[in-house]
Symmetry: D2
Subunit: 471 residues, 4 copies
Amino acid sequence: MGNASPGILDRTLRQLQRALGLAGMGFGGLKSGLDPSLPDHDLDRVKQHIDDCLAERGGKVSARARAAELGDAYLTLDSTGRRLFLELLAHDYDVDGASIDAAIAARQAARDAASRREAEARLRDALVAPRVRLLAGFSDLNQGVKFLVDLRAELITLLDQHPSLQPLDADIHRLLSQWFDIGFLELKHITWSTPAAFLEKLIEYEAVHEISSWADLKKRLEQDRRCYAYVHAGMPDEPLIFVEVALVSGLASNIQDLLSTTATALEPERADTAVFYSISNCQKGLAGVSFGHFLIKRVVDDLSHELPNLKTFATLSPLPGFVAWLDAQFDSADPDLLEPDEAARLQELAGTDNGIDGLASLVSSGEWARDESLTRALEPALRRLCARYLLEAGSNSRMRDRVGHFHLSNGARIERINWMADLSPRGLGQSAGMMVNYLYRLKDIEKNHESYTGDGQRNASPEVMRLLRGG
Amino acid sequence: MGNASPGILDRTLRQLQRALGLAGMGFGGLKSGLDPSLPDHDLDRVKQHIDDCLAERGGKVSARARAAELGDAYLTLDSTGRRLFLELLAHDYDVDGASIDAAIAARQAARDAASRREAEARLRDALVAPRVRLLAGFSDLNQGVKFLVDLRAELITLLDQHPSLQPLDADIHRLLSQWFDIGFLELKHITWSTPAAFLEKLIEYEAVHEISSWADLKKRLEQDRRCYAYVHAGMPDEPLIFVEVALVSGLASNIQDLLSTTATALEPERADTAVFYSISNCQKGLAGVSFGHFLIKRVVDDLSHELPNLKTFATLSPLPGFVAWLDAQFDSADPDLLEPDEAARLQELAGTDNGIDGLASLVSSGEWARDESLTRALEPALRRLCARYLLEAGSNSRMRDRVGHFHLSNGARIERINWMADLSPRGLGQSAGMMVNYLYRLKDIEKNHESYTGDGQRNASPEVMRLLRGG
Amino acid sequence: MGNASPGILDRTLRQLQRALGLAGMGFGGLKSGLDPSLPDHDLDRVKQHIDDCLAERGGKVSARARAAELGDAYLTLDSTGRRLFLELLAHDYDVDGASIDAAIAARQAARDAASRREAEARLRDALVAPRVRLLAGFSDLNQGVKFLVDLRAELITLLDQHPSLQPLDADIHRLLSQWFDIGFLELKHITWSTPAAFLEKLIEYEAVHEISSWADLKKRLEQDRRCYAYVHAGMPDEPLIFVEVALVSGLASNIQDLLSTTATALEPERADTAVFYSISNCQKGLAGVSFGHFLIKRVVDDLSHELPNLKTFATLSPLPGFVAWLDAQFDSADPDLLEPDEAARLQELAGTDNGIDGLASLVSSGEWARDESLTRALEPALRRLCARYLLEAGSNSRMRDRVGHFHLSNGARIERINWMADLSPRGLGQSAGMMVNYLYRLKDIEKNHESYTGDGQRNASPEVMRLLRGG
Amino acid sequence: MGNASPGILDRTLRQLQRALGLAGMGFGGLKSGLDPSLPDHDLDRVKQHIDDCLAERGGKVSARARAAELGDAYLTLDSTGRRLFLELLAHDYDVDGASIDAAIAARQAARDAASRREAEARLRDALVAPRVRLLAGFSDLNQGVKFLVDLRAELITLLDQHPSLQPLDADIHRLLSQWFDIGFLELKHITWSTPAAFLEKLIEYEAVHEISSWADLKKRLEQDRRCYAYVHAGMPDEPLIFVEVALVSGLASNIQDLLSTTATALEPERADTAVFYSISNCQKGLAGVSFGHFLIKRVVDDLSHELPNLKTFATLSPLPGFVAWLDAQFDSADPDLLEPDEAARLQELAGTDNGIDGLASLVSSGEWARDESLTRALEPALRRLCARYLLEAGSNSRMRDRVGHFHLSNGARIERINWMADLSPRGLGQSAGMMVNYLYRLKDIEKNHESYTGDGQRNASPEVMRLLRGG
């Protein structure tokens, strides 16, 4: 299972056993799931148990206990057993078409407001699959929230091969969206005094600039750094998303300096700029539940309040799709890609004679970054192409770069393209070593958001606009 | 507003103002709501604001801010203004019949599973009134959860006179049921070391046996007493429901002894019985969201674990509807009510000569409790009638006494009827001074629940059964 | 015992029993302490136990356990038994004169620095009574710190009648002074969210203006009030000293307004003055260990930081010794007490014809405050005499009023005398209804302290100086 | 400075500056301390400041502030400046011989109890150097406790070369012994959820078996491990001493298995033995203040309570002085060291022909551990010699091995000598690869302590006794 460490599952299991004082259910057939001829009586027992649970046999409290027992049993299953269980939920506990039809008929037959309303309520209920009530029953287990998040993480990996599980996934997604409503999350300021068990998760989940060691992590929590995470009370030891911020003088132009382990920390009171240099989503099981917009807004608010000296809030972001897009442009022999003399000079420098193809593989390899003349020669072309990628690639409603799309949806604008800003293998391989500053100016956020989501207008600084025009 | 202390609302308001940095919205027309000719432009402004909010103009974060602003404005309104605002929500932001019709048509026209599913999702969305999204947006305000609970408390008081608000109430009820899912509540052990601000609420909310002073409260938190409350993280200073328990030797038979301020406290390790003597729901705005079943179960679990010496878990409960039922029986001249000689003897003792009517008013008055001979004479009749009330009054599926119905639904059984058990005016006036022990035996709870909710069977001890038969 | 609630002692006792797993020691003879012929063998057992403890028989850990056991036994004694135990400590475990003599001899005989030093260390040890080590051993009991504080509170009540206990008291005082060093105390901000168990102690310990109810207490913790207490980690549920502060506009001139239950609270941000209107020492057992100086300074610092709008820090204080001093002046027939015409007019108004004596009893009775003409007539005389009392009564190094002495030692100055400022019986009886503002101006504190403690100069505002001169 | 990270000192300094609002004092002369001709006026300023502080000029509160200011200045000094400052304290603020003489004279002249007592109190005061009051004043600085501990750590390193600082060290030691009285320490259970800033200190301070990484540390905090530390409220982020415990089945016989990173963790409920495998003192500045005895006792108590299944409490300890002692024995040509045939056989195996010397260097080198025949041949001899070392080496009152002395003073007995138990370079080099189990049996602890500290009897199991006799 994606993020579910066996430790947590084991502990959940023991907790359940203690809580319930119930013997395990066996699930014999499901466990030996590799055998396609699943003995009927076992599936029957599972279904009986689910039915008892949904019927609230023995009362609501007992129903919760039964849901817990099912969760318990699920955790003991191997991967085939789990898939079979999920398929059981997907197929046998889906909405009932006949009930929906009946409710629709009643609604259409209703003659007065009151009976229409009643029929609509019944219809709304009929449109919720019975399994949803079962899954919702996990909320009050100690690790039940994490359990459902991890169950979905596993489910997501099965969707490609088992598309019939998609409606189940949609149900869990809807349930988790309610549970993880932004109003119920806590914004946590992460420091070096945070429990190690939590910090360990940052190392594990950091998705943008890998945290190489505890010493690296400590550096990122020094006095001129900030780290905030959203946390849910139901899984308090796990970040849902976290952002890392550097407090600096002037807009940061490359990641190497920010992550340097030898730089001395700035007094926070002397910084004028907060640079968001990493945002990581942590829970695969929460795919499609968005926190990022709120996180950035809250952190900007908190920092403005804590440090009134901060005047600029911006990101230092990768362009994860730039090189791939460039490759595609080279492939399609886009005639506007390079100026004629540019192409000639680059081919000469690169010592490549198979034309554009050679140039494409040159950029992809990142080798050029070690050759000063090549670097100098490539800079104007790549900067210009980068501006074009940001400002023109993609559809009208959505720019091609997903990081850029996130920030522009958020109301930021494209402020600056930084050359030689991320020389890590990934930085060179995906972004040709460039990074972008997206600028968050509080008073423009709503306007920017509206013009981007409404008219597809991509806001950018004059400097970036000029680049596009080859300035 | 029911429970909403002005303090909280004021603080919410200030918080909102600070959070938003927005000028108040005025709502001029709504505020001067007594004037039936509400100026159109004001309503228009409010509607414009709601529309902007629902359209997420400026992005999700801005939408939340707008919801907050509306809440802010609501708090400044007088009662008429608030009603008008609620009516606006009820009428202008209800489900849209045409959208439902369209979604139904699409669903019925769907030919394959995928498009049917898609249509059903659309239909489900259409069945949720737009106002629900607005209301859900309060979740992340500091006092937003309490705000919505209090708003519903106020709304409920309007329902009788303004039935058109009922669909709005149903929406809020559904939303609060999700927010207050038992899995997201914390069970809090209340002691004399709990903050005074919280304890003060117990005094305010106690609904069964009034807490007369801080000294009385302290007595109820001594070492041989326990108090537990469910609390929601969104309104941590407020109990949702709380239960008071006495640890005693042998089943408690009257409330006077339990609440005596002079008794010395028992060592908890010496108690063999836990008596639940008061359960109070605290939030009128959470009417219809049930916590009591879970609370009793959790407290029984916790106490069993903490004090293995406890062998019996039972309540000491009032019979809030007994005297009223008895009156009705007297009125209907039920011939089986009293034995002939009983009636004669009672009339003689009571010095009343207008027959049954005299007896009825004698019982209602509670005066008899001061007259020893009358008391002795009434005891067998009232005990028998009490057993009849508990075991026979009401319908097959629901006993007449609401407290009894709660406990039998919960899986308890009627264990004992206690004579002269509550001599307070309310105790005499409602319950003729009697109290009932409902017994919670863990191993029988499911079975009892099933037989009561399924077959309408009311479980009782042999002793109580005998009373019925005049034993 | 003074402050030692039986609850705490009982709990300590149970804790000790659990901690030690030791049977009680009996102390038979001491317990039946009323019998003067104490059986020898019991005293012997106690002494044997103390000796074992001091000899660290069984190691340091065992010695601590033995000290605990003795504390345990002490708690079971009646008052005579406790006194006998204290006398045992006072007489049998005092410093040993012979050891001191020997150490002195060695020190005087020492020829070089090293041996002199060694002899001095030995001498220092000899000057510490063995009982001190025993008493110090209570530090690590759960309630041991409170135990020793309460033991001293009890001891202090015996000193008058049993002066031989004084050296024991001096030892405990020295030990407690170390334990309660200001550096190890925590300043706690007390609010309505503080545990009730702690707030209850404020009601109990308030020594200046009685807290009449929980409602009164709540009023004193509102947004325009502050309350701070020093607390020791070893007895976290008990304040050592606390101060109550009112945030007001302009210097408060009477206590009635401050304690009014009907006034609406001021926004703290609008206050310009913090008035310290009550300081109470809470632990009789800590007599002679002073916290007040540090408390005021810390609270001034904290408030200045929290509310920069505060410009003035001052007290509103009683003059507890004024009326008594005035009586003495009347008795001594001080000719300067009243102007001739003043005396005549007052006697006339008061309808008294036995001269000065009549006036003295008039002032003492406080009756005058109900008679407007008398009040008006008395005001100039009493104000002038009050100024004289504050500025001249007492010795050069110490003004007669103990509250005034405390504040002037602290570096405050006498700012204003307020007429009709405390009309409670105590206020009239002790202070003739007047109250004083002592002003704390940060930049003058050191200078004021020096001039008062050094030269006996009593700093006062020009206004008060003028009063003295009959202005 | 020993343990004082610059971070803490810097923060203390900034805190002081903020707290005091005072300009730095310069200390020009002291800072340029390398110049032996210290300008007089600077020393004078420092002395003036100390004198003001001791005279409590401006009041007690100001005196504390001045002490803080001095601490502040101290932190800015270089090492020579610090030494000069310490020497100033040592020489100019020592006890005053004349005052002592005068107090002695008064005491000897006293004729009655009261005046003798008074004179003794005066004498006791005279025997406390004035600097002690200055140093005590650091207690209420935020980092003041840590400051004094670190100051002493630095002072200790100077003692050898500057013996005149010894009386100052004795004063600080006495003061710290009061501050760090066991009663004021908190026992903290350290887990993987402890703040990383604290855990980092364990890695730094572990003195027995180095913690090689955060992964190693995490392993030592798993479910079958326990770690406890004593912490002082004045320096809450620092352990004073900590112990690491392994919960195992049967007495652990080697450290390799305990520290293995691949072993799976035992269910704590299944362990029957708690093995204390590492105890580390953390603060050099607390040399001579002992916590170890209390720590072991408390942890045994806590674990017995938490896990009643634990039957055996024992250590797995190094013999840090064994090889050194053995070398000395070889050097002194102790004829009983080896049996004649043993010696011959070992020399043959070792291929050494320079007799005993060769054997000595063979053992010291630890090379033998790689040669199976040698290992087998050495085992009986080394075990026997180890038993002799533990049971006979050293004086009657103190065994030679310091670890053994600690545990026997504590009341443990020598339970088992483990062969090939620590194959690390240090284990081989100091302990010839052997480790000892010291057994803590609660009921024998007092008796064992008494017989060891009283009669010098070293308690050991029959098995170890037999080894001594060559069994």
